[in-house]
């Protein structure tokens, strides 16, 4: 299947260069240390730390992932490989889906590592809610990938691509960001995923909407 071939190719390229993964994890690590240091000066007690943890963890992820994805289309545009795909009859939705899934896999791994790291530094216990956190991370990162993959294509040929992506991505990622924080907060408090939470419906809805938007608009973003 073409999707599988494309996905394998994207993962292989990422494995070779490890750009997205390295930048995401590296930045997450640095930001986690800085954040932990900064929070440490506030002398918060454990409940307060737990309250503040989700926001900081997801903020770090969004920032690190946005920087990490900044040059992710370089492999396709460097030698006009994406043109070759279009000429060979591969449709933009196929290219898009493969990229979303490959980015999701890489970023999800990066996000989990970053989150665990931050929890370690702030002495927060994640083990009670790990399955809920894993699921939340998967859903949020998928939605983020769906939107970011599309927007990266919009920036790919700009002269300021690394800087432009955060400027256009961060305002529109807000609802996803809120869902991530609220769900993580609820998971840490209750130890499980709140299935009736409006935030979960919002998150799933956003994942679907962003993916559908991407499938339909990716062609306009990459074609000449």
């Amino acid at each position: 299947m073409i999707f599988v071939t494309l996905l394998r190719k994207d993962l292989l390229i990422e494995l070779r260069g490890r750009e997205v993964f390295a930048v995401t994890v590296g930045l997450s690590l640095m930001l986690a240390v800085v954040a932990a240091f900064g929070i440490g000066t506030a002398f918060l007690n454990p409940p307060q730390l737990s309250a503040v943890f989700p926001a900081i963890a997801w903020l770090i992820f969004i920032f690190a992932a946005t920087v990490g994805l900044g040059r992710s289309l370089e492999a396709e545009t460097q030698d006009a490989a994406i043109e070759g795909l279009l000429v060979a009859g591969v449709s933009p939705p196929q290219i898009y889906s493969a990229k979303v899934f490959s980015n999701s896999l890489v970023l999800c791994l990066g996000q989990l590592i970053g989150m665990c790291l931050l929890a370690l530094l702030l002495a927060i216990n994640l083990s009670d809610a790990w399955s809920a956190l894993f699921l939340i991370s998967a859903l949020v990162v998928f939605g983020y990938s769906a939107l970011a993959t599309l927007l990266t294509a919009l920036c790919a040929t700009s002269s300021l691509r690394g800087v432009l992506l955060p400027l256009i991505l961060l305002p529109v990622i807000a609802p996803l960001f809120f869902s991530a924080i609220e769900l993580t907060h609820e998971a840490l408090e209750n130890g499980r995923l709140a299935l009736d939470s409006p935030w979960l419906s919002l998150l799933v809805g956003l994942d679907v909407v962003y993916f559908l938007l991407g499938l339909n608009l990716y062609g306009a973003a990459i074609k000449e």
């Binding site: 919009l154 040929t157 002269s159 800087v163 256009i168 807000a174 608009l217 306009a220």
Partner: protein, 224 residues
């Protein structure tokens, strides 16, 4: 011929807005609690309406451009995003002035203010896309971003309402339901209508400029 309609519209809108100013500053009495400063409320709410109108126009124009590739629709997108940006800035500034006068605070984290902050950031992102994006692909890329941005607005409003609230800062007296004085109500509605026509006029004007600009740039040879 188009000029004639435009000139007539300009005169009409000018008179309508002049009348609105008269109503705001002369006709309507001082508000009991806040005094004259309260009059900024009319501009604030009307500008908010204008911003929402711009978002709607942006969505329609962006979708239209993607479907038909008509250059005039790209012009409307440019116009809607710029006019929306200006009115959104007016909402923020007038809101801050009013906030400081009424509650001695420039900004508070509550639904409406935060929604408009994100709207402003979205418009900023659109402006950055136009300014720093790839110039040869600008219409398509901006249309894609326009669709995403416009669809994000209701989602942001919805998700911010889900957030746990501190105090509702918009006082009840300024909700439409709470406006007891009929002259306040009629002034508000009239101002909203007048500013709506001003929004339409400004979008029309900016579209004409955008179309002329693109015609002029087409005529200048750039080399083969």
């Amino acid at each position: 011929m188009k000029n004639r309609y435009f000139e007539l519209s300009t005169v009409f809108v000018f008179l309508a807005v002049a009348l609105a100013n008269y109503l705001i500053f002369i006709y309507v009495p001082n508000e009991r609690v806040m005094g004259p400063v309260q009059r900024i409320f009319y501009f604030h709410v009307a500008a908010a309406v204008a911003a929402y109108i711009s978002v709607a126009v942006l969505l329609i124009a962006s979708l239209s451009y993607l479907a038909t590739r008509k250059p005039v629709m790209d012009g409307v997108s440019v116009a809607a995003s710029e006019v929306g940006f200006v009115f959104c800035s007016i909402v923020m500034v007038s809101g801050m002035i009013w906030g400081h006068a009424a509650w001695n605070t420039f900004f508070r984290w509550e639904p409406r203010l935060v929604s408009f902050l994100f709207l402003w950031l979205i418009f900023l992102g659109l402006t950055c896309m136009r300014r720093f994006g790839d110039p040869s692909r600008a219409p398509e890329h901006s249309a894609v971003l326009g669709v995403i941005a416009a669809l994000t607005v209701p989602v942001v409003v919805y998700s911010i309402q889900l957030l746990p609230q501190t105090a509702q800062l918009h006082p009840v007296v300024v909700e439409n339901r709470g406006l007891k004085e009929p002259s306040f109500q009629s002034t508000l509605f009239y101002t909203m209508a007048a500013v709506a026509t001003l929004t339409g006029l400004l979008i029309w004007l900016r579209t004409r400029i955008a179309v002329l600009e693109s015609k002029r740039s087409k005529r200048q040879p750039t080399g083969g």
